[in-house]
């Protein structure tokens, strides 16, 4: 799946990263607790979260994640956008809730960190 497809599937918008729409992603993780995200060292490309603060971007940075999806209509602030730009991470927002967002992406083939 590409970042562009994620935007379409979630009826979302790109907050940062228009130039990286072709990025390929295969795995994802959805959580509002950052240590839960950090518990899997395996490559995970996408982070879905309802949390909005700079540590979300930093967590994605430590995990080498390519893309963050903010669910439930949450918007990252300018500080987070600057951080994401510097760390080369795409930011997407959607009005869909967490459950629906994860469900739609899973149905289209995106998988969890364990590959299941």
């Amino acid at each position: 799946m590409t970042v562009k497809e994620i935007v379409e599937i979630l009826e979302g918008t790109i907050v940062y990263g228009e130039d990286f729409l072709d990025r390929e992603v295969h795995t994802a993780c959805g959580s509002d607790m950052m240590s839960d995200v950090l518990a899997y060292v395996k490559e995970q490309a996408v982070l879905l979260t309802g949390l909005v603060n700079p540590q979300v971007v930093r967590t994605a940075e430590m995990m080498d994640m390519k893309c963050i999806v903010f669910v439930r209509g949450k918007s990252p602030d300018i500080g987070m956008i600057n951080l994401a730009e510097d760390r080369d991470i795409v930011l997407i927002k959607t009005d869909l809730e967490m459950f629906t967002s994860c469900g739609r992406l899973y149905a289209k083939g995106l998988r969890g960190g364990s590959g299941k």
Partner: protein, 140 residues
Amino acid sequence: MEEVKLHYDVNAYDFICAGEASGKLKRSLKDLGFDATLIRKVAIAVYEAEINMVIHAEGGVIDATITPEDITVVLADKGPGIPDIELAMKEGYSTAPENVRSLGFGAGMGLPNIKKYTDEMDIETEIGVGTTITLKIYNK
């Protein structure tokens, strides 16, 4: 590659900048040419410990020693100390208050995560004096 030593200061109560030191260390390791999975392990372990220094203690200092064989990181704070290390190491144990949880931390997974990603982990702590965590990750 010769031995490389790096030093970072972690500010007290600065939740915005917390993680800056871990990010810098991560980029330095990348520049030195280490393997991506190894770098991720170091970054996650040091980030968890750095966040702990900000949310549970009053900031502190981080010293990293990098050699071709291994990476050693010492994180020292002057916080309240940890009364029961065995309990603190348990998955799910956290004393984080509600405001810290609303920031996405306080799952009680940080120290277990650090243990998981490091080859050696040592905690020295004294109540009212502070905590020093030493981590070592081998470059296999």
